[in-house]
Homo-oligomer: 215 residues x 2
């Protein structure tokens, strides 16, 4: 059954891999599933056809036969739960890996999103410059805690899992800000994620796509 | 096997049910599982013993025999996936219900969290008053989209699921702001959630707990 995901027709990051289709591409590459990509323009994202797939008018979406999903976390979880290698078989270890998917998306990503919002939507406001360090401090607090938990381990809980894939993807959004530089342990963790052949393939595919090549 | 969750020793909301233990209590009540609650003070949340359970020093956590989890989304998913009634059996419907858990936590809750952050952490800043309407506008945009998707349906996708439980819990955080009043369809959806006997039991339990009664 063909898997089709959606991605920005032209990503706002110009192919840096920070849009959320990259994390889904990465999951698909980790489990070795081929997929197709449909480009969606900013205008089309707000049209009924796309809203039927994604009620919040975003990317990525995931279609596979009769199944249509949205939300990168849900898509990663769906892929991971149906194919070996991204979630451990043992029930407790599996539940802990799922916990890291949620922690990445609901605890680590929100302050990072605030940074993006502050730049894109409030960058022209008089408070923009003074407020930025407050947001960065809140991010640093989370990174301190994450760093303490990771310590010298290679991955967050045993072998590489969908939890690491999601966490690395979330942390990568910080790269343009330079905030990760203050956390050498986490920077190395992110680099280990990026070094995985599946990530490399996903990154190359989104780059080619954003440069107008075929996917 | 005894289930133990953690909750604030005294919730900052004084028992309005907006702390994240309430959604976990609700899930446990829906599936009929007894549980115990351990109070954690703000000081204890940053101590090694609690950080071993929750690396970000928050509540709730979930302990069941050898298993220890954190993140309310992960705990709700864990409960829902091991007991009937909170997730449909059919694979595609199940994947869609899981999608709504992620949508609640990663798309709807982040702008709502910004409102909380703006009040608690930036309420004394000179930009506080002028910035608030911008945040509320971003929340309204999400609620418009959610409202359009829900339309006249009772729940988001077929029968009540863990996705609805999570979404209603997230929307409830808006109650003090009055923002929900502008969305009668969503307000009625939230009210349907609150009317469920399992929610009523969970709410009463957290209220008694916050008033110093036993749980």
């Amino acid at each position: 059954m063909t898997i089709t995901i959606t991605a920005f027709e032209r990503s706002p990051d110009g192919g840096m891999g920070l849009a959320r289709d990259t994390r889904v591409r990465w999951a698909l590459e980790e489990v070795g599933l081929p997929y197709e990509v449909r480009a969606v323009s900013f205008a089309a994202m707000k049209e009924p056809a796309h809203l039927a797939l994604h009620p919040f008018g975003q990317i990525p979406t995931y279609e596979e036969g009769d199944l249509a999903l949205f939300e990168s976390g849900a898509i990663i979880f769906h892929i991971a739960s149906h194919h070996a290698s991204l979630l451990p078989d043992e029930a407790n270890a599996r539940a802990r890996a799922v916990t890291w998917i949620f922690a990445a998306l609901n605890t680590v990503e929100p302050p990072i999103l605030e940074l993006v919002t502050a730049r894109i939507l409030e960058g022209d406001k008089p408070w923009s410059k003074e407020r930025m360090p407050l947001i960065v401090d809140r991010i640093r607090q989370r990174l301190d805690q994450l760093s303490a938990r990771l310590a010298d381990a290679e991955w967050l809980d045993g072998a590489f899992s969908a939890g690491d894939l999601t966490m690395v993807s979330v942390l990568l959004r910080l790269r343009p800000s330079g905030v990760l530089n203050g956390f050498p342990g986490l920077a190395a963790y992110v680099a280990r994620g990026e070094a995985r052949p599946a990530y490399q393939r996903a990154f190359a595919a989104q780059l080619a796509f954003n440069r107008g090549g075929s996917d």
